[in-house]
């Protein structure tokens, strides 16, 4: 399929349209407001469902093919924050704390972008490896730790507590639910999985749509900070994901992933964390400006990846992998 057709399929999917509706709701100052508890519930559900499905798939997969992609993912988690930090410091002239904060966000990963990528590939009928959720878990933490270490070494940390931040990272709800869900899925296997499939599989796309409605509203609230963010941040939040996406697809291909798997690793690399990273950065780098990293990750990169990135990284993957 041509990229324009892919774009159209993606933009007209219920989940992207719901995200758009959320943006509109905020722009017209609607009184629509999803309860915080619904947001929390949906995010717990999505993480657990991603993990469960991955675990069930793992139970049916040979793990021989797993080590190379796992290593590739780990490497991405080390390289991306270094690149992102260097760009933010050199080109963006940001403070150590702000640059490290951006590095943490862009090195880590957004589980919802991952879910959207799965849904997109399902829609266009492209298969991918069952162990991809394990890669989400692998990519989530290292980049954040690297970024905090950079800040520590560069002296950008005052008042923060990076050990505490790392401890909280490893027990954070996204890791716990993702890894926990995978273990449950793996142990319960297809039979146990079938019992909970009506909730965790059948409803997944609908729940994602609902969640994106809320995320559209959250992202749009970030828009009002765009004017003060400056041109560098705008460029960074669009070009960085593209660079990372190419890196991810390429590493995935080298590690033997399929077309679908390479696309997803590209999406993972391109995505910016907005759950684990903000919490960790707030604790370890309190002097970094949240208006900065949240606006970039949630206000620019997330909508970009969701609307344009998915078909883009897939198209890149067809080129790089030769369509295999």
């Amino acid at each position: 399929m041509a990229i324009l057709e892919l774009m159209q399929i993606n933009l007209l999917s219920p989940m992207v349209l719901a995200f758009g509706l959320g943006i509109i709701a905020t722009l017209v100052h609607s009184d629509l407001k999803l309860p915080d508890e619904l947001y929390t519930t949906l995010s717990i559900y999505l993480l657990l469902a991603i993990g469960l499905k991955g675990g069930i798939a793992l139970a049916q997969t040979s793990l021989a093919a797993f080590w190379a992609p796992a290593l590739a993912t780990l490497l991405l988690g080390l390289i991306i924050p270094l690149v992102a930090y260097a760009i933010a410091r050199r080109i963006g002239k940001l403070s150590v704390a702000d640059a490290a904060a951006l590095a943490a966000h862009y090195g880590s990963v957004s589980a919802v972008t991952f879910a959207a990528a799965q849904t997109f590939l399902d829609t266009i009928g492209i298969r991918y490896e069952g162990f991809m959720p394990a890669l989400v878990a692998i990519l989530e933490v290292p980049a954040i730790v690297i970024a905090l270490l950079i800040a520590q070494m560069a002296g950008g940390q005052q008042g923060g507590d990076w050990r505490e931040a790392v401890r909280e990272l490893l027990t954070s709800k996204s890791i716990l639910l993702l890894v926990g869900g995978m273990v449950i899925g793996w142990l319960a296997g297809p039979r146990g999985g079938k019992e909970v499939a009506p909730l965790f599989v059948d409803l997944f796309k609908g729940a994602l749509t609902f969640f994106l409605l809320e995320l559209g509203m959250v992202a749009a609230r970030r828009f009002r900070d765009l004017p003060t963010a400056g041109l560098f941040l705008l460029g960074f939040a669009i070009i960085m994901p593209i660079i990372n996406g190419i890196l991810g697809v390429w590493f995935g291909h080298l590690a033997g992933l399929s077309l679908g798997g390479s696309t997803i690793l590209g999406v993972l690399a391109a995505s910016a964390s907005y759950i684990a990273a903000p919490a960790a950065v707030r604790i370890a780098l309190p002097q970094a400006n949240p208006g900065f990293y949240l606006t970039a990750a949630l206000g620019i990169t997330f909508p970009f990846n969701l609307a344009l990135g998915l078909p883009l990284y897939y198209t890149l993957a067809t080129w790089i992998t030769g369509g295999a």
Binding site: G159, A279, P290, G291
Partner: protein, 103 residues
């Protein structure tokens, strides 16, 4: 009925700080606390809690010296980088020793 005057310290803080603030309060001599969920706006711009759930409203009844120590500690540790405010007032309680005793 014998009424005693103790200090009520109220803290509004972003949610990521919960564990640390409660730990600090206990360390500084508070023997209890009550936490509610709020949202708000101040002079600082965005804070991380804005999109990740609510902020905290922590109340603790303490002896006057403990209250002063708490305010001082908050001002030194959290005011510079975090969205935290705090204030204190006199309130009357029936059994003062519950709140004023040493831990």
């Amino acid at each position: 009925m014998e009424l005693t005057t103790v200090k009520l310290v109220t803290i509004i803080a972003e949610a990521v700080l919960e564990e640390r603030l409660l730990h600090d309060l206990r360390q500084l001599g508070a023997r209890g606390y009550t936490v509610g969920a709020v949202r708000g706006e101040g002079t600082r711009g965005v804070h991380a809690s804005e999109w990740e759930g609510k902020s905290l409203r922590i109340e603790t009844l303490v002896a006057p010296d403990v209250a002063e120590r708490i305010l001082q500690h908050l001002a030194a540790t959290y005011f510079p980088h975090f969205a935290v405010i705090a204030y204190m007032a006199d309130v009357q309680v029936v059994r003062g020793e519950k709140f004023r005793g040493k831990q």
